[in-house]
């Protein structure tokens, strides 16, 4: 019954990357203060109004970029901070993105153990039981997960990765300066000297080994910051089959020549994320008025696609 088997998350992701000719994922990290006046003016100044503005802003952004990128990455913290109404805005954003053919990778960095990790997984990438049926709640395609609790914290997510053809991206080496505090610590592991993030990389390989899709990539990916290009090169070798979710491009200082280390020789393997530089492009590009924020975002995405594709071409890694 091969025809009934659903395509794995990694296959779905790569197919969409090739279709859109883009390795970019757009973060949707709404900050009310930075929203255009044209959006803010149309909603009341209340928690509910703020969340309506966020939803409207996101949908307009998605309309402007859905044909240019394979995926979006809403950061749930920016919604969750508004409680019930924020979660409503988040779920509406996810639904709208998926309706437009975008893959939705939730940046949630959730982590816990046993039945608690299962509860997170059920809610975000799996299903919850209601009476005699199963319901999808957040219904994202993939989510980010923190590894500090070890295997007990990852295995419950893996069940849903397999059952529902979903993905997880495990924090390995994050883009922030103080990622060195713990992730770069010198460790002794399996008789060898290493950095802690290399140990996590090895675990990511192990956790993902039963989820390899037809393009050769696992549905258990890794978060690898653009801001540490030398570490990225090492990690690319350590996790040849893991898709990298790469934050830190643009606003945090990562350049196209930095993120090139995150790709494999097949020209795949990395999804480069940018949020602020796209979401609020209208604030820095004088060609666009406040009300043209969506057009400005579109231009910024086209620019970023070009930068990354040019860099891949220069390195003979562009495969379209």
């Amino acid at each position: 019954m091969i025809s009934e088997k659903r395509i794995s998350f990694s296959d779905y992701l790569i197919a969409n990357i090739i279709k859109k000719k883009s390795h970019v994922i757009v973060g949707l990290d709404p900050d009310y203060d930075n929203l255009p006046e044209s959006i803010k003016g149309a909603t009341p100044l209340s928690i509910k109004g703020i969340c309506m503005a966020i939803t409207e802003f996101n949908c307009r952004l998605i309309d402007a970029i859905y044909d240019l990128v394979p995926a979006i990455k809403p950061q749930i913290a920016f919604y969750e901070r508004y409680g019930i109404e924020g979660i409503r805005a988040f779920i509406k954003t996810v639904k709208y993105g998926k309706k437009k053919g975008l893959i939705v990778i939730e940046d949630a960095k959730r982590n816990d153990i046993g039945s608690t990790a299962k509860a997170y997984s059920d809610g975000h990438i799996g299903k919850v039981r209601v009476d005699s049926h199963d319901a999808s709640i957040f219904d994202v395609d993939a989510m980010t997960v923190n590894p500090y609790l070890g295997s007990d914290g990852i295995l419950p997510f893996l069940d849903d990765v397999k059952t529902y053809s979903k993905g997880i991206f495990i924090l390995v080496k994050t883009s922030n300066p103080s990622s060195v505090d713990l992730q770069d610590i010198k460790v002794r592991y399996e008789g060898q000297k290493a950095r802690l993030y290399e140990v996590v990389a090895k675990l990511v390989n192990r956790w993902g080994s039963n989820t390899i899709g037809s393009f050769g990539y696992s549905s258990v990916g890794a978060v690898v910051g653009a801001t540490f290009p030398r570490d990225a090169r090492k990690l690319r070798k350590l996790m040849p089959k893991a898709y990298f979710l790469v934050p830190g491009y643009g606003a945090q200082g990562g350049k196209a020549s930095d993120v090139i280390n995150c790709f494999n020789k097949d020209g795949c393997g990395a999804l480069i994320a940018a949020s602020r530089s796209i979401n609020y492009a209208y604030r820095h590009d004088k060609r666009f008025k406040d009300s043209q924020f969506a057009e400005a975002a579109r231009e910024a995405v086209i620019g970023m696609n070009t930068e990354i594709n040019n860099e891949l071409r220069k390195n003979k890694l562009l495969n379209w």
Copy 2:
């Protein structure tokens, strides 16, 4: 203007511990399948109905135990999995617990960096800006935080700890078997051999150093599992001023003689958590009918208080 200064989280916690003569914190981790029929039968079988049942169950539990313990620890994963309605149930539970004089420590294990960590902190322990005022959203007294991202992931929470007299508990050594995967790794740190969790312990000291209250405890606590008593003893010495939030008692195997290592010589320093053994006590205690779940929970809490207080007395650590 000393009189205007609010009492620190650690002082508020310890005052409540002494008042209640209890070092126990009750986890509220609702699992619909385990709820009593008397609660389930009164609500419709829908997401909304499930969340109404959870809220009702929690409020009845709180009514039964609020005079016996200083604090409750709702685990947000069990609410979040139901999306919008789940968050509503969570917030109602928090409000009800606080109304009854309980300290609410949210088990959220959130983590991120910069403005994203700030968004989590604003939503859970701080405030969000709405028009010309600041609104509290989750409004818990303290929350658990994951340290894998280093200082950048902790400092934004520290601001709210200081501004709003809140607390955070940082995962140091968790109670699950695979906590050894990363937390127990042998590392080289500041020229010395150590385990990773010892490095995190040192960071917890540093992060909490400006938040010491009048009882001598910091408002930056540590999560230290009851299931590794030898590690707990080491960690108690490494973090003399951190309050320990101790999961793993009861269902996970931790005993009173294990958790004694988490206390300081002043008879304070540890908050021992139990969830399932209290929430669903009625399922294992034949004296109670389904409809008497709250009475059963009360008995279970009294039993746990007695066990821990007796152990403290035995070790000459009981200070009431």
